[in-house]
Assembly symmetry: C2
Homo-oligomer: 200 residues x 2
DNA sequence: TTATTTAATTTAACAGTGTTAAGTTATTTT
DNA sequence: AAAATAACTTAACACTGTTAAATTAAATAA
């Protein structure tokens, strides 16, 4: 009944194709509006085939999250390796985080806004997410070493900054009906307020 | 089949009882895990009765949101009417917002994290939510009048602060598995960083 | 090559979901 | 008491995630 003209020759890649198709659908239609049957139809397999590669719908989401986290982690890591003022790198890293979220709103939604309560029973932990946060923390740590901040509690400052940049990102994504000021202006304001708030 | 020993004598209050029961269930079990049938069973009516009082499940959520928003609006409004330093009142208002969210995590989740994308088709707008934000804005405006801030763009500052306090609240609620520093410490840090960042 | 085992995939079904149209009961009005 | 209106329920539709069992295809062994 389903489309038999499969696009993938190598069946070993079926798992990856499910991931790609599911991500695209989640991004376009939203996690809740995508059923396992719809995914299955799109890849040309029966719904149950997906369960041979993923435990359940939540697991499928997890795997997608990990890939998104990984991309973000790579982006912020590449910034950290630039040769610039440590505070400036911190600023750039924060901006990259926000830009990543605004450029891929549904990815961000899936990773940072929705999933944890959706599928928390299995004790979801993202290794890639930890890497992204650790990069922020090491940026902060460098600033402390350079004596550029008024406080030297690296963990506290890092989490404070994360709260701030997550706040503006998630607000702009989920409250899209609210009459926000110009996007770039608000993002800049949040970053500058936070930096100014922690600077020595 | 359903329980006929109805708790409410006055049938005019059925609508309010549905709201109360649904809120309680949403808070305890989460929006997605509560079905119309479960709500109906708890109030002792058939599932379709709910549709006589609410357009659909999303509408039911909206009404609950409005009530939550109203409570928050009352709380922050009562703070604004205290006779204290305007910057101090701003600080207290921000703290009240965060505390409200952490004290009623599922309410906050329903109102500020989830609903807008869940039921955006009908053009959802919260009047009570606007009042809550307007209170914050007028707090900021008073600070500007008192020349306590380094910038006088009231709208921009208000949205920047909202982003910050929403960030820490939502992060603490949804990423409950993350090893955050002590809650009170983080909340204090976010507020102080933001205030310090906008102060003259 | 054929027989057997293993892997890959599907069929059918369960128990649940939001929602609607039509039917029924109860209450109010005439 | 009869008619009209409101309150509520029954039954059904078209979905959902998920599982157990059956089937088909591929790989291995005789």
């Amino acid at each position: 009944m389903a489309n038999r003209n499969r696009l993938i020759a190598d069946k070993e890649n079926l798992r990856q194709e499910i991931l790609d198709v599911a991500r695209e659908m989640f991004v376009v239609e939203g996690f809740a509006n995508v059923s396992m049957r719809k995914i299955a139809e799109k890849i040309g397999y029966s719904p149950t085939t997906i369960y041979l590669y993923f435990k359940d719908k939540a697991d499928l989401l997890h795997q997608i999250c990990e890939e998104s986290f990984a991309q973000l982690a790579r982006n912020v890591l590449s910034i950290q390796q630039l040769s610039a003022n440590s505070l400036e790198k911190l600023r750039m890293g924060m901006r990259e985080y926000i830009n990543f979220g605004l450029k891929h709103p549904s990815h961000y939604e899936i990773v940072f806004i929705l999933p944890i309560q959706i599928s928390f029973e299995g004790g979801y932990e993202s290794s890639q997410g930890k890497i992204a946060f650790q990069t922020l923390r090491s940026n902060v740590s460098q600033c402390v070493d350079d004596k550029l901040l008024k406080n030297n509690d690296v963990e506290l400052i890092s989490q404070t900054l994360w709260a701030g940049i997550h706040g503006v990102t998630s607000l702009l994504i989920t409250h899209c009906g609210f009459p926000f000021v110009e996007r770039e202006k608000l993002v800049e304001s949040v970053i500058e307020t936070l930096i100014s708030g922690i600077k020595a």
